[in-house]
């Protein structure tokens, strides 16, 4: 009990000292200090809010599927003089080219085009945590030879912790559909589902020797389909060369509110 009293006394004494000190300081300085404190908290708050409301769309897919072309179609509405294999991600924040004519204030979108070369895939992990949506670009023209590689990549993507936990929506974008021999998106979806089913069998064979994915896909005992994923997976058509990307723009606007 006595100790408590002692503490109290000390506290009140300290309070007095602080009060005296405050009175000594000119009020102008006090106001300035308070203003700075408020300002910093506001800034921090603003940053925090900004981070939670992401406007990032990540373009990914195999090398040569046409991600960079789509990136520039979204930004400038033209493919310029063509593209070569990317060595570094393209990223930019802009108002979509198709919406530049619209009236009113439109929120710009942050779009990242991550190179598809397998050596550069670790780069993807840097962008996934802040993604509001993922676009997986598939070459619909040259699909069958690349089917397995594309499915493996997609499988890895769909079992990544950062994707599953935040339920980031994913769009499978079938590119190059302007060509006559291109496969339909239904066909591509089915093929990829089939491939992932096989992958599930081989990858779930877990042993100490394996690098295990954090999450498994689908429901055991049932054939895999994208509806079993915790995040929504949709498919769409596009043609990067002719600039037919309206479905993609819809997807982006559905997840990044203007």
């Amino acid at each position: 009990m006595q100790e408590l009293e002692q503490w109290k006394e000390q506290a009140s004494h300290l309070l007095n000292v602080a009060n005296d000190y405050l009175r000594e300081v000119p009020p102008n300085q006090l106001y300035a200090a308070a203003a700075i404190a408020v300002f910093t908290t506001l800034l921090l708050l603003l940053r925090f809010l900004k981070r939670t409301k992401s406007n990032t769309i990540v373009l990914t897919g195999l090398s040569g599927s046409g991600k960079t072309v789509i990136f520039y179609q979204l930004r400038d509405g033209s493919t310029h003089q063509g593209t070569v294999t990317s060595m570094e991600p393209n990223e930019d924040t802009f108002v979509l080219h198709g919406e530049t004519t619209k009236k009113g204030k439109i929120k710009p979108v942050h779009i990242v085009d991550v190179p598809g070369h397998s050596r550069l895939r670790p780069k993807l992990d840097e962008y996934l945590p802040q993604a509001a949506g993922i676009v997986f670009v598939v070459d619909a023209l040259d699909f069958l030879p690349n089917c397995r590689a594309a499915s493996e990549y997609l499988y890895d993507l769909l079992t990544k912790g950062s994707v599953v936990r935040k339920k980031i929506p994913l769009l499978i974008l079938c590119n190059k559909t302007d060509k006559v021999t291109a496969h339909t998106k239904e066909f591509i979806r089915k093929q990829i589902e089939k491939e992932i089913e096989k992958l599930r069998a081989s990858r779930s064979a877990v042993s100490d020797a394996d690098v295990t994915n954090e999450f498994t896909l689908g429901v055991p005992g049932e054939p895999f389909s994208f509806t079993q994923c915790s995040n929504t997976v949709t498919t769409a058509d596009a043609s990067g060369l002719t600039g037919e990307i309206s479905q993609l723009e819809e997807f982006i606007r559905a997840h990044v509110k203007p």
Binding site: T68, Y72, H80, M87, E88, E152, S202
Partner: protein, 631 residues
Amino acid sequence: MLEQLLIFTRGGLILWSCNEIGNALKGSPIDTLIRSCLLEERSGASSYNYDAPGAAYSLKWTFHNDLGLVFVAVYQRILHLLYVDDLLAAVKREFSQVYDPTRTVYRDFDEIFKQLKIEAEARAEDLKKSNPVIVGGNRKQQVTWKGDGSDGKKNGSAGGGLKNDGDGKNGKKNSENDRSAIVNNGNGYNLRSNGVVGNVSVNGKENDSVNNGAFDVNRLQKKVRNKGGNGKKTDAVVTKAEPKKVVKKNRVWDEKPVETKLDFTDHVDIDGDADKDRKVDYLAKEQGESMMDKDEIFSSDSEDEEDDDDDNAGKKSKPDAKKKGWFSSMFQSIAGKANLEKSDLEPALKALKDRLMTKNVAEEIAEKLCESVAASLEGKKLASFTRISSTVQAAMEDALVRILTPRRSIDILRDVHAAKEQRKPYVVVFVGVNGVGKSTNLAKVAYWLQQHNVNVMMAACDTFRSGAVEQLRTHARRLQIPIFEKGYEKDPAVVAKEAIQEASRNGSDVVLVDTAGRMQDNEPLMRALSKLIYLNNPDLVLFVGEALVGNDAVDQLSKFNQKLADLSTSPTPRLIDGILLTKFDTIDDKVGAALSMVYISGAPVMFVGCGQSYTDLKKLNVKSIVKTLLK
């Protein structure tokens, strides 16, 4: 003729391509260049050859790292275009002036390019014309050239430092240029411009400083010597050489002279007194204020050693200089350095190279990696509050992750299932030199596959070493796996063939083929291996290598690949698809062999053997390897 010249961003957008040349390239040399050369950390090389049906191209490239631009020139390989390097450098210079990140169309660059190309071609023509002069008249000049052999060599090495002269062609060109420069010296005015051209290709990016004023061999030699002798010091001046110098000053009268001081006197001796002033001037011009210090050392060392006053003055000025160095480096670290140059990077790269080599990375590989990292950093802006060493380290880490990340899928089970659907066995051939653990690790792989409900069969195709079949039989018995054997003295290729037939008959999913260990130089055995692989067309050729190996890793893998390619009778030879790294538990932190092997072959490490029992088989953890390598 030049086929194409492209300018694109590292992001992949083509900014400008040569319109008037216009003829379409066969195949896609640019994409191939990026995928198989620039992204494989081979950008330190000087040129890349691309073969397409009906065309053979050579590609040369240069980076502008600060702006993130890549310049690539494509030309027919049969034409040895001498002006390409020169042209690329000129295009880079001009284009970086008009470049604007928001702009994507640069049609107005057409005119500039046309001009540059004409100039470059003209210079190349001149150079060609000047070459016969040597043959025609000046024997004396030839002699001079021979006499200066050592310098020439030095020069060559300096040039090599700047530009990798991996292939002989470049080296030859260097020496050609040297010769022309010397001839030029003798012949006087007419050819001066050629000499400058030659110098451009020899010294690469340093040329600008040399071009001013008259050009003579003395100057060139001195320049080279400066490079060779003072190179380290120059670099150190930027960072922390000043304290060292104070020490040196105090020890002038010590018993054992400091080595570097001897070096200085040497210089003075060779250059002579008359040249000294010019040399100092020259250095000062090149390296800025810090050379002031050096000037003082010269004077105190050579002339007035007993002069106390002078000494005192020197001592007084030393701390001053030191302070300045500290302050400027501080300032630099805050403001960020303008542009990184080769000389800035060199000390950090050298330290990094040494560190890699202590981790058992083959020297050749470490060298190439450092060159590639240098190529990717040169000209870049250093961010504020970062040091060069940390920037270099980060770039190296990126590069290492990129190299070690497998290019192809290493999911063998997936491949096995795919083969199962086609109702044919999945064949894996284990190859390697003697005693690396092929049979042991074959058993481990068999055990791992067995754990995943795959029917495995072993094929004993080591019909060479005594006891090999029995060894494999013991493993098979312990694992309860069927084994196919035909005893010794049989052709292994035939045994393997029969084993595969047997496997498809009894429904085995995987056939693991054990082969005899062979040294990479043993031609008959390599021929037999090549035959075995050609005849059976396995799904996976697994090279088994031990993690203990150092520089020999490069030799083993490249020779194996080379022999498999050369000795194969088929037009599309099979090469090594994957690597099995054994004895990984014995090496502690010397994990460099993994990097060497992956870099040299481009094949991924599929398994890592890390112990004596059947369960000791792992996958390579790229992150931990990179961490260990850079520790």
